[in-house]
């Protein structure tokens, strides 16, 4: 293609995009920064989600649970522990919960997992509330820091970069190799000596830890942490939708879903404040019926069509992707 290898170009492009994104607060500190924080938040959440759900095809609806745990970790510790340490602890707590959930359900088929995770956020919310009601004095927690929107934004970008890096490393590791085999055929994977359960649980923990850290980073933005907001189940749904819209088979897939979707959501809620649900539902159906393979699917088909003129033999790849 050119003098640079594909990988070099991609690394360069990624670094340039990151630098460009990081410079945004210099241009605007108002509405567009707020929108960018939301985009960055969902970008990290969706990519972290796809780390696990992409290769395994297990649809996890546990995002809100990890997110809430992260926010709560910060809410509980903000007065005594430095914020940076809290982000790490949030990751750890989420990883532990992910391990427990994974051990209980991941040995079984995907459906059970979906349904279990569907209620996990609700369950965590109830248990957290119950613990707080019975062992502490209040349920709402105040998080007051000096962090401005731009700090939160930069932290999210950094975390996003970390997620990408991990995704890239995992893909090149034994774990990533094992996951690809499991994703293709779990029985085969078991036969070639892969401990499928351990691999899945590990990946789920990594994914959960990142989601928990997003919750922790966003806690100062909420200022007031209470269970219904921290464990809002809509977060889980939106993450799945955006990631699938982009395409969860590629590391960068969720990102191309998040950006248009967040902006669309925003446009709809700005233009039709009384019909948000209706419009979003309709937009959603259109996506499902007309862009079934996600935006990645569309892009690959386009690339294929362009490439087709030069090398007709490459067309077999579409099905494999």
């Amino acid at each position: 293609m050119s003098a640079f290898s594909g990988r070099e170009i991609r690394v360069f492009l990624a670094a340039a995009a990151l630098a460009l994104a990081a410079a945004l607060p210099l241009a605007d500190q108002g509405y567009y920064l707020s929108l960018a924080v939301n985009v960055a938040m969902y970008a990290v959440l969706c990519t972290a989600w796809a780390l696990f759900s992409g290769p395994t095809h297990y649809i996890s609806l546990a995002t809100a649970a990890f997110f809430g745990l992260g926010a709560y970790t910060v809410g509980l510790g903000i007065d005594t522990v430095p914020f940076a340490a809290l982000i790490a602890i949030a990751g750890l707590v989420s990883a532990i919960v992910a391990a427990l959930v994974g051990l209980a359900t991941l040995r079984l088929s995907g459906v059970y997992f979906v349904i279990f995770t569907l209620g996990l956020a609700e369950l965590t919310r109830q248990v957290v509330t119950w613990l707080q009601t019975n062992f502490t004095t209040g349920v709402g927690l105040y998080v007051f820091t000096d962090l401005a929107e731009r700090h939160i934004y930069w932290m999210l970008l950094a975390l996003g970069a970390a997620v990408y890096l991990s995704g890239w490393l995992i893909a090149r590791s034994r774990l990533g190799f094992a996951m690809r085999i499991i994703g293709n055929d779990e029985t085969v994977a078991a036969h070639v000596g892969i401990d499928t359960a351990v691999s899945k649980v590990l990946l789920f923990m990594i994914s959960g830890a990142f989601i928990g850290m997003v919750g922790a980073i966003l806690a100062p933005r909420f200022a007031y942490i209470e269970p219904p907001a921290a464990f809002n189940p809509m977060i889980s749904f939106q993450v799945v939708i955006m990631a699938l819209l982009g395409g969860s088979q590629r590391l960068w897939g969720p990102l191309v879903g998040v950006i248009p979707f967040t902006i669309l959501f925003d446009f709809v809620s700005g233009q039709f404040p009384n019909h948000t649900n209706l419009m979003i539902g309709a937009a959603f159906m259109l996506v499902v019926y007309f862009i079934p393979n996600g935006i990645v699917g569309v892009m690959e088909r386009l690339r294929l069509r362009l490439g087709l003129r030069k090398t007709p033999s490459a067309s077999g790849q579409e099905k494999a992707a």
């Binding site: 108002g30 509405y31 920064l33 707020s34 929108l35 924080v37 939301n38 938040m41 109830q126 509330t129 119950w130 707080q132 009601t133 004095t137 209040g138 349920v139 709402g140 105040y142 007051f144 966003l218 933005r221 909420f222 200022a223 007031y224 209470e226 269970p227 219904p228 907001a229 809002n232 809509m234 925003d266 809620s269 700005g270 039709f272 404040p273 009384n274 019909h275 948000t276 649900n277």
Partner: protein
């Protein structure tokens, strides 16, 4: 009667939907107000009664009277509304959009404690006056020192809880109830704060708490709670509850024929839907909030609310929401400018005539507010307040029929 309610509800929903198609007033003579609050999500049920209709009525009233007098010019009012879907991120983004993109002149506070606090730093940064209504909190003083542009109107959880103890004490002194109280609460920020303040207040007043439990937000199967409470044979029942469970607790108490001389449930007792559902059985039920519905101003307000929005307001935070907007209007008129810092100055030092009576801010906090109300002859009368005046005497709950 009931048929008409449904028709009106449907009509008002359609009307509300149609409003946004209408053209705005001419640029320049219009004051733009921004409102972001839940239209969907868990808090939408409450804001549909308390928040949005009060705003709608206020806009109607102000424009019908010619607008707001800024200096020597009358300016009409226009409200830009956004749905925050009961989520903090959405609320922050909406406020950003209202300030930076729509460039509104003033903001109407969001709905609920959490959303008010999530947006407070942002509103403070841009120097907009922030008159919070639906945020019952004990930390208002701390918030004011943090955000000097913020004003808190509805009251503190401690006052709400200790007033319950006061009302029960009055009833005990009258010989209506004995010493045994059952206390339950919804395990949610509001319920827990109230229960934590209320239980010590009850003990201090010499009451014995014979049953004490909490249940999760959204629980509607409260038969076990009521039947356990009933076994403890209390003289009074206190439930620091939220909308769906307020209804469910009352329903169960009525079914189980819980014989108590005082029955208190929390938020939503003051909603028109409450009397709509329970009718005569609501008679004597105590609840959070209250107002003095007998003043001519309030009588007129209730009538106008029904005419303009097609529905009844609740007997607590809805008029206070309207009052907060009246206060904002008066502060703007007194400042004679839309310079927001000057308006905040006026808010800090003035006293304002509103539908709920005269309101003044002491350290940015309204210290006189209603705390407990009671359904008496089909009207939710305030029976306890922190000095508003016009309180009625609490009466005994006499059976459920």
């Amino acid at each position: 009667m009931k048929r008409r309610t449904v028709l009106k509800l449907t009509a008002s929903a359609l009307l509300a939907a149609g409003i946004f198609a209408g053209p705005a007033f001419a640029e320049g003579d219009v004051l733009k107000f921004g409102a972001s609050a839940p239209k969907t999500g868990p808090l939408a049920g409450g804001s549909a009664v308390t928040h949005w209709p009060a705003i709608k009525l206020w806009v109607h009233d102000v424009n019908a009277a010619g607008g707001i007098k800024v200096g020597d010019k009358m300016m009409k009012v226009e409200v830009i509304e956004y749905d925050d879907r009961t989520s903090g991120e959405e609320a922050v983004k909406n406020i950003q959009r209202l300030i930076n993109v729509d460039k509104v002149d003033f903001l109407i506070a969001p709905y609920g404690t959490g959303l008010n606090l999530a947006t407070a730093p942002l509103i403070a940064k841009h120097g907009y006056p922030h008159i919070a209504v639906t945020a019952v909190t004990d930390k208002a003083d701390e918030f004011v020192s943090r955000w000097p542009n913020s004003f808190w109107t509805l009251g503190t959880s401690t006052a709400f809880a200790s007033s319950v103890a006061d009302v029960l004490k009055t009833l005990r002194d009258k010989g209506v109830i004995g010493n045994k109280v059952a206390v339950v609460n919804v395990a949610d920020a509001f319920g827990i704060e109230l229960a934590n303040a209320g239980k010590p207040a009850l003990k201090e007043a010499g009451f014995e708490i014979v049953y004490d439990t909490s249940y999760p937000l959204g629980t509607q199967d409260l038969a076990p709670v009521i039947s356990e409470a009933k076994k403890a044979a209390p003289d009074a029942f206190v439930g620091f509850s939220y909308p769906p469970d307020t209804f469910a607790l009352t329903d169960q108490a009525k079914l189980a024929d819980l014989k108590v001389g005082a029955f208190y449930v929390g938020v939503a007792t003051a909603f028109p839907a409450y009397i709509g559902k329970f009718g005569g059985a609501a008679e004597g039920v105590l609840g959070a909030g209250g107002m003095n519905p007998d003043t001519p101003v309030m009588q007129a307000y209730l009538k106008r609310h029904k005419e303009v929005t097609g529905m009844d307001p609740d007997y607590w935070a809805n008029p206070v929401t309207y009052a907060s907007l009246e206060i904002l209007k008066q502060a703007i008129e007194r400042a004679g400018t839309i310079d927001r810092a000057k308006v905040i100055e006026q808010l800090k030092n003035g006293s304002f005539d509103t539908v709920v009576g005269t309101m003044t801010f002491d350290g940015n906090i309204n210290r006189k507010f209603w705390t407990v109300g009671q359904w008496q002859n089909g009207v939710f009368q305030g029976v306890s307040s922190t000095g508003v005046g016009g309180e009625k005497e609490p009466v005994a709950k006499k059976g459920w029929n």
